[in-house]
């Protein structure tokens, strides 16, 4: 289980990186390597060139930009997990990250790498979709910005072109405070989830659900939002009937089965983790000090 032969380049500026990507064929970008390196060792992929972007300056970092939290693509997962800004403004992200792999993989793994790899059960793409995040993409001679929904094309397939690199992810912040929860069911701690449920939820002054977002990971080929469930909950107090109605939409989730779980089972588990996530998010929203929308 040794990697096949490849060439290796390590650009040290964004310009060099982009010009390199523009001229290369069959190249793979090496970010944290926590998915790519196993695939190389298993000889599942045979790139001609690895483009190591670990020394490109400016690609890592977390900062508040107005009402958004912007995270550089090369920011290590562990850095986000322990970041005070993320904890204060977008706490679902550290909560989800604690379920990503293990400490050793989060020390290397990056947010951009996870989004670009787009494993159907990965936590970060689910959170990106949940939060209507936007991704910033660069190529030689230009940049573009896509919504998470536009970026995620299909099973392990993104809109990223061969000559492009993801440079940052930007999460629009919910007014503070809000309720949130990331719940998943995996066979063992750190495994990819059979199903995961992410929820952001804000209560109005009357205690009714003013705004809610739900995303499910692990069930289908890509993470999925649940607009019908969101609509079923909006304006309610999260009464059992409303929750039951929302959970009912899990039966309509796009699902694929594999060795670790059939499609039906994954939908059932989604219902279980979503119930927990909704309850948890609502409790947190209710417990949060009320304040002006931000």
């Amino acid at each position: 289980m040794k990697p096949p032969p490849f060439d290796y380049v390590r650009p040290e500026s964004l310009e060099t990186l982009l010009s390199t990507l523009a001229r290369l064929e069959n190249a793979k970008i090496l970010a944290g390597g926590q998915s790519l390196m196993p695939m190389l060792n298993l000889r599942y992929v045979f790139p001609d060139v690895l483009v190591d972007i670990n020394r490109v300056p400016g690609l890592a970092g977390i900062r508040l930009e107005g009402d958004r939290l912007r995270i550089g693509a090369m920011t290590r997962q562990r850095a986000i997990e322990t970041d005070p800004l993320a904890a204060a403004h977008f706490p679902i992200l550290p909560e989800a990250l604690r379920l990503v792999g293990h400490r050793q993989t989060r020390n290397r793994g990056t947010i951009g790498g996870s989004l670009c790899h787009l494993d159907p059960a990965a936590e970060l793409p689910t959170v990106a979709l949940l939060a209507d995040a936007t991704v910033e993409i660069a190529r030689e001679g230009g940049t573009r910005t896509l919504s998470a929904a536009e970026f995620i094309l299909g099973y392990m397939t993104t809109a990223l072109g061969q000559d492009e690199v993801l440079t940052a992810v930007s999460f629009p912040l919910w007014h503070r405070p809000h309720g949130y929860s990331f719940q998943e069911f995996a066979r063992r701690h750190g495994d990819f989830a059979i199903a995961s449920a992410a929820c952001l939820l804000a209560l109005g002054p009357d205690g009714r659900i003013e705004r809610v977002a739900i995303a499910i990971g692990g069930v289908g080929p890509v993470p999925q939002r649940m607009p019908a469930a969101e609509a079923a909950l909006a304006g309610t107090r999260g009464e059992p009937e409303a929750v039951a109605r929302a959970l009912g939409f899990c039966d309509a989730l796009d699902a694929i089965g594999d060795f670790h779980g059939s499609a039906d089972y994954r939908r059932s588990v989604a219902r279980s983790v979503l119930r927990k996530a909704l309850g948890d998010a609502r409790d947190r929203a209710a417990a949060a000090p009320t304040g002006p929308a931000q």
């Binding site: 040794k2 032969p5 069911f185 066979r187 060795f259």
Partner: protein, 783 residues
């Protein structure tokens, strides 16, 4: 202070803790080439052609070798039957390389030797094998049906063997039974997965011979196999087991790679190393896999067992590297610690197009314990008797010890349980687990919608398999005390235990004793590491040998000091007069004297050398027993099982090092919990393995496990001088049965029966869903 019986720190640890262990891949010899195998991608195919031309021309490649290329240096392309008295090949032993018909995915077809492993893998990927597909048989039950195609075209039948394991009058037992319960059971054991895979390093020697390091449990078996297969003079061959990163059964076999790599070294005249990677381990290290049981149990009205009968289909995989002892273990062990007056189980051993099967920790015993304990739970459920009461009524009472099962062990000797008090063990384990209080806790939890369950399983394990093991104790003129044995250490702490035994007899400290286990240059005879045997067998030999060395030291000192032996004692590494009045004489001085000097007088009536060599022999097994109680919580929404509490009571005879014993037991329990809930080696219908990474094949990790509460009783075994019983497998054997019993108990509100391991969350979820649907339908039925 005597070392035996104390938890002395391990002598293995200082090197291992600082990165100075020496596993086979850590040994670097100059000019070593690296091997990679081309393995079958098909579960069954005729190999029409192997094109090595492209691979042979790739960078760094020294040779691409097929079966035909190796043939000149091999007596046969087929391995002899391993660990057998005759060492002859047969139509089910594996091939060193298979150039004609692949019978499982992963079977070695060709061997690339290159400057680096990286380059060897590049070239292995460029070897083109033309496969002509043949019918695949992936299910052992189908394999034995009439009309099923052969797993290998050379076989007339997929049925490798059929045997009847029986005693008593079963027909009569069933005729007079008040109750008969029946069930179909499946147990899947998965793989061994030591963290270190297999590995072989073959060094060519100037005399034309070889020194071979292998991560094996069987250095002497490998030595004799290599000598025979390669036609090597035994005096020009040495096999060494370096540090081994875990055995767990699969390293008990002699493998094709262990022949192919030394053969390549001889052919090329170069040192060649092959280190198994994890994917290869999934594809080619033996697994101990499926057994399908159909069982009936006859009881009287009180749940006393009158008889058992049934059938066992054992999935043997594509080849049988060893004799079919393992399914015999299962069938002969199924009655376990219970009195069963009549018994008849037919055993069918079936070939399939899957990785060959041999032992994994427990070697047939876990399946036996699972079958028996599940049947007893079924008896209890059907008769409405408490599970532990049924067990108590059927356990062998202590007054019947030693208890003879009317069956023969492999040696031909009867199966005699030597000692133990099984009912007392069960009672003590239940008390520790709070068994009788559990229904209250269970009811309280259920009222909150939580499903708790408790389960129990008993087990016995024959340990210390003979016929002998070597133990040499030597004091060098430097004073260095060494122990040499043919028993293999795979990481359990054997060296420490043997050092303790030796140290006590020689009046030294354990850390002053060096132990070399599994090196054919130091121990001429040896049988290896398996069947929880090393401590019992090698320990007994070392115990006797060390006593002999001590006696010899005193005898020699008596001459040297001119004092009667009775006035001398051995302590602190020297012989001195009792009471300490005389000057002591050190073991080093005695060993120097017994080394002899040219022409000088030698002490009369004493043989040269301060050493003794003992081959303690035994046909009998020392039977360890255990009672495990597990508590679980099942999440009925997902089918997830959490193990919340685990009690294990073991009687492993006299404990030489309680700390090491406890480590063996707890590791064994974790393995058994993995078997119950996590480990599943998946294959599809075409024999393609579905789980070939640690992301797909799940080994249990720390967060999934509770703290284990272990308890020990020490009933000395009367059949060996140490009074010891083996502990390497005992923790695993009842664990899966206890867990499944607990899961079934937790799901009692749904009335489900569980007859298999492992149980995945989805399996349980579906079981629960079906039961709830049935309950709903029943509720809705008009009265």
């Amino acid at each position: 202070m005597r070392a035996v019986g104390r938890s002395v720190p391990r002598i293995e640890d200082p090197a291992l803790l600082v990165g100075k262990g020496r596993y086979v891949d850590d040994i670097a010899l100059p000019g070593t080439l690296h091997a990679a195998f081309v393995r079958s991608a098909s579960a069954h195919a005729r190999i029409a052609a192997i094109d090595t031309a492209a691979a042979a021309g790739m960078p760094g490649v020294h040779a691409v070798l097929t079966a035909a290329d190796l043939r000149p240096v091999l007596r046969s392309l087929r391995l002899p039957l391993g660990a057998s008295p005759t060492s002859s090949e047969n139509s089910s032993t594996p091939f060193v390389l298979n150039g004609h018909e692949a019978a499982y995915v992963g079977e070695p077809i060709a061997l690339v030797v290159a400057d680096t492993r990286y380059e060897a893998e590049d070239a292995a990927g460029a070897v083109f094998v033309d496969y002509e597909p043949l019918p695949v048989v992936a299910d052992a039950r189908r394999a034995v049906e009439a009309g099923t195609p052969a797993v290998r075209t050379e076989l007339a039948s997929n049925l490798l063997n059929r045997m009847m394991v029986a005693f008593g009058d079963v027909d009569e037992a069933f005729a007079k039974a008040t109750h008969v319960v029946a069930d179909e059971l499946w147990q899947h054991r998965g793989c061994g997965h030591p963290l270190e895979g297999r590995g072989v390093l073959a060094e060519t020697r100037p005399d034309g011979g070889l020194c071979v390091w292998s991560s094996t449990q069987m250095p002497h078996d490998l030595f004799h196999t290599l000598a025979g297969m390669l036609g090597l003079d035994e005096n020009c061959l040495r096999v060494v087991t370096p540090d081994v990163g875990g055995g767990f059964g699969p390293k008990y076999c002699i493998y094709p790679e262990e022949l192919a790599v030394p053969a390549a070294a001889l052919l090329l005249g170069r040192n060649v190393k092959w280190i198994e990677d994890r994917r290869e381990n999934f594809l080619s290290a033996v697994q101990e896999r499926d057994q399908y049981w159909s069982l009936e149990v006859a009881t009287d009205g009180d749940g006393r067992i009158l008889g058992m009968r049934g059938r066992l289909i054992h999935d043997q995989g594509a080849y049988a590297p060893k004799a079919v002892n393992l399914p015999y273990n299962s069938a002969s062990a199924v009655t376990g610690p219970y009195v069963v007056p009549a018994f008849a189980v037919e055993v069918l051993i079936a070939h399939t197009n899957k990785v060959p099967v041999s032992s994994v920790r427990g070697a047939g015993y876990p399946q036996a314990a699972f079958a028996m304990e599940r049947m007893i739970d079924l008896v209890a459920a059907r008769l409405g008797i408490d599970r532990v009461a049924v067990r108590a009524r059927n356990l062998i009472p202590p007054e019947k010890m030693p208890y003879t099962k009317p069956l023969k062990a492999r040696s031909g000797a009867g199966i005699v349980y030597d000692s133990g008090d099984y009912p007392a063990c069960q009672a003590e384990a239940l008390a520790a687990a709070g068994w009788h209080d559990f229904p209250r806790r269970q009811a309280e939890a259920l009222a909150q919608g939580r499903h708790l369950g408790i389960g129990i399983a008993n087990a016995v394990k024959g340990t210390g398999r003979g016929p002998f093991e070597s133990g040499v104790v030597r004091v060098a003129p430097s004073g260095r005390v060494s122990v040499f044995t043919g028993a293999t250490a795979m990481g359990q702490g054997l060296a420490t235990a043997l050092a303790q035994i030796c140290a006590d007899e020689l009046g030294v400290r354990p850390e002053e004793v060096g132990v070399i286990a599994g090196d054919t240059a130091f121990a001429q005879f040896g049988l290896g590491g398996f069947a929880s045997r090393q401590l019992v067998t090698a320990g007994s030999s070392v115990h006797i040998a060390a006593k002999a060395v001590a006696a010899k030291a005193i005898r020699a000192a008596s001459t040297m000091l001119d004092l009667p032996e009775a006035e001398l004692e051995l302590a602190g590494g020297e012989v001195r007069g009792r009471g300490g009045s005389n000057r002591g004489i050190s073991l080093a001085e005695i060993a120097t004297r017994l080394r002899g000097a040219p022409g000088y007088a030698f002490p009369a009536e004493i043989e040269p050398g301060l050493e003794a060599s003992i081959q303690w022999k035994t046909d009998a097994l020392a039977y360890a027993n255990a009672c495990h109680v597990a508590e679980v919580e099942v999440d009925i929404e997902t089918g997830h099982v959490g193990v919340s509490h685990y009690i294990a009571l073991h009687d492993s005879g006299r404990l030489i090092n309680p700390m090491i014993v406890d480590g063996q037991i707890k590791g064994g329990i974790a393995h058994g919990i993995g078997n119950a809930l996590y480990e599943l080696m998946g294959y599809d219908e075409e024999g393609q393995p579905l789980t070939t990474t640690f992301a797909d094949y799940l080994l249990v990790t720390a967060p999934e496990l509770p703290r284990f509460e272990t308890l020990y009783r020490e009933t000395p075994s009367p059949i060996n001088p140490l009074g010891a019983k083996g502990v390497g497998e005992a923790g695993t054997i009842p664990a899966a049965a206890a867990i499944i019993s607990a899961v079934e108990d937790a799901l009692r509100p749904f009335g489900v029966r569980i007859s298999q391991t492992p149980v995945t969350p989805e399996f349980l979820f579906n079981l629960i869903s079906k039961a709830r649907a049935k309950q709903r339908a029943e509720r809705e039925m008009p009265a």
